[in-house]
């Protein structure tokens, strides 16, 4: 209400009002502060104007309410307040010109310097939120950590189960679309001696896989040899003390060939991934897992090379 206006009172005015509250008259107050009574009157009148009240007692009461933070009913008796208290608390002001109200409200203890005050209130650490009561979440931090990890496990398992379910259903539905023979339920069921659609596909897949891996190994080997050749050319020129320009054109060609081989090898790598997809598409996903079979170790390695190649470059 008048809290803002009370903030505009100077300390001198407040001191006077406090003495007014204890029934000192202007002459007495003037004697205490060592200034003229008219100066005291001026202060009090200014305070009355600022607070917008009728009498000095009303102004003094308002100040007391504000300072105590509670409403008061009765005016305290004069005898109760020790008269020497103001003298001890308030220094005699050396000069007392016209009372100038403080332009900005004085910062009180509960709001800090502006930016940090905002941060504190944003984080709920201001301490003035007025939120009191019993906490709902009464777990300790250790408990919460344990529960968090348990929750992670629960969600992970649930979602993996759901995804697995979805994949199985999808491949089942896809296989059913081509409606010749039905897919046998479990992955370990062997064909019954008749050629089923499934066996056809598995045979085809296995044949393609073998051939593809052979080609992939070959191109990888070829790329390795070509690159090694480039390196060897460079080194042997030095070893034979030949001039820098020796065989430059040939070197370029071999290097270009090596570059092309590496590109070709990369195409095989990409084709490898694409073929794994094809395997899923034709409905063999549940039999091969996600590229996790004997032929496709996690690093997507090809079949082990028949011979170990010793690169000349790392001799």
């Amino acid at each position: 209400m008048t809290a803002g206006r009370i903030d505009q009172l100077t300390e001198a005015q407040r001191a006077c009002l406090r003495l007014v509250l204890t029934h000192h008259n202007s002459k007495e107050i003037a004697a205490i502060f060592g200034v003229s009574p008219s100066a005291i009157d001026k202060r009090i009148e200014r305070a009355i104007q600022v607070l917008g009240v009728g009498t000095r007692f009303e102004a003094a009461r308002r100040l007391q309410e504000h300072e105590r933070g509670t409403a008061i009913d009765a005016v305290p008796s004069r005898k109760a307040a020790p008269p020497d208290e103001p003298v001890a608390t308030y220094e005699r002001l050396p000069s007392e010109p016209i009372d100038v109200p403080i332009p900005a409200p004085k910062p009180s203890n509960d709001t800090q310097i502006e930016p940090w005050g905002f941060v504190r209130r944003f984080l709920g650490l201001a301490g003035d939120s007025g939120s009191v009561g019993a906490a709902r979440n009464r777990f300790s931090m250790g408990d919460r950590l344990v529960r968090l990890i348990a929750l992670m496990g629960l969600i992970a398992i649930t979602s993996m189960a759901l995804v697995n379910l979805a994949m199985t259903l999808t491949s089942l539905l896809r296989s059913n679309r081509d409606s010749t023979a039905p897919i046998h339920g479990t992955a370990t069921t062997t064909p019954m001696g008749r050629t089923t659609m499934l066996k056809q596909r598995r045979d085809a897949t296995d044949t393609v896989t073998t051939e593809f891996l052979k080609a992939e190994a070959a191109i990888d080997h070829a790329a390795m040899l070509a690159a090694s050749c480039v390196s060897t050319l460079l080194q042997q020129r030095v070893a034979a003390n030949l001039p820098l320009g020796t065989g430059a054109a040939a070197l370029q060609m071999v290097s270009q060939a090596s570059f092309d081989m590496i590109n070709a090898r990369q195409r095989f790598v990409e084709a490898h991934r694409a073929l794994v997809d094809v395997r899923h598409e034709i409905g063999l996903g549940q039999f091969y897992g996600y590229g996790d079979t004997a032929q496709c170790p996690p690093n997507e390695g090809a079949l082990p090379a028949a011979t170990s190649v010793r690169l000349a470059a790392v001799a």
Binding site: L123, S129, A135, L151, I155
Partner: protein, 152 residues
């Protein structure tokens, strides 16, 4: 591309609601999620420049967000942050696994990476709604559990 803008819209709306109507845990989470979404967008714009950098940048953003959310889970007087943190931790783990082994379970990876964010945003909104209901019903709602003196 549209899915990205849809997600940004949802995220901004949810964070805005949390910042306006939430308690301290909701505000903090709303701001953190917003910053994470924006940072990830900024980092991913550098795709042509450095692929390795992309993964590292996204990972760093994820880890920072994870730290903030773990702290909120441990200290806030709420239950929903635990769920949101669990979801986000799993999403971060999926990124990590994909960074280590790029080709494992590709489809599941795609699902894991994109799908986590929506439930987290939903949880934030639900938490904010419940908080504002509690405020309306009884006038107060503790932000951090240690604000309850009986709990220390």
């Amino acid at each position: 591309m549209d899915r990205v803008w849809l997600f940004y819209t949802i995220q901004v709306a949810a964070s805005g609601y949390a910042l306006l109507r939430g308690g301290a845990p909701e505000r903090l989470t709303g701001l953190a999620l917003l910053l994470a979404a924006v940072s990830t967008g900024i980092v991913q714009r550098n795709i042509p420049i450095l692929f390795a950098g992309l993964e590292a940048g996204v990972m760093i953003v994820d880890l920072l967000l994870l730290v903030v959310m773990i702290v909120i889970t441990l200290k806030a007087d709420r239950f929903w942050p635990a769920w949101a943190t669990a979801l986000h931790a799993l999403g971060t783990g999926a990124h990590l696994i994909r960074a280590i082994s790029p080709d494992v379970i590709r489809l599941v990876n795609a699902v894991l990476s994109a799908a986590w964010s929506y439930p987290i945003v939903l949880l934030l909104v639900i938490g904010t709604v419940r908080h504002s209901r509690r405020i309306r019903a009884r006038g107060w709602d503790l932000d951090w559990s240690r604000q309850d003196p009986t709990l220390r």
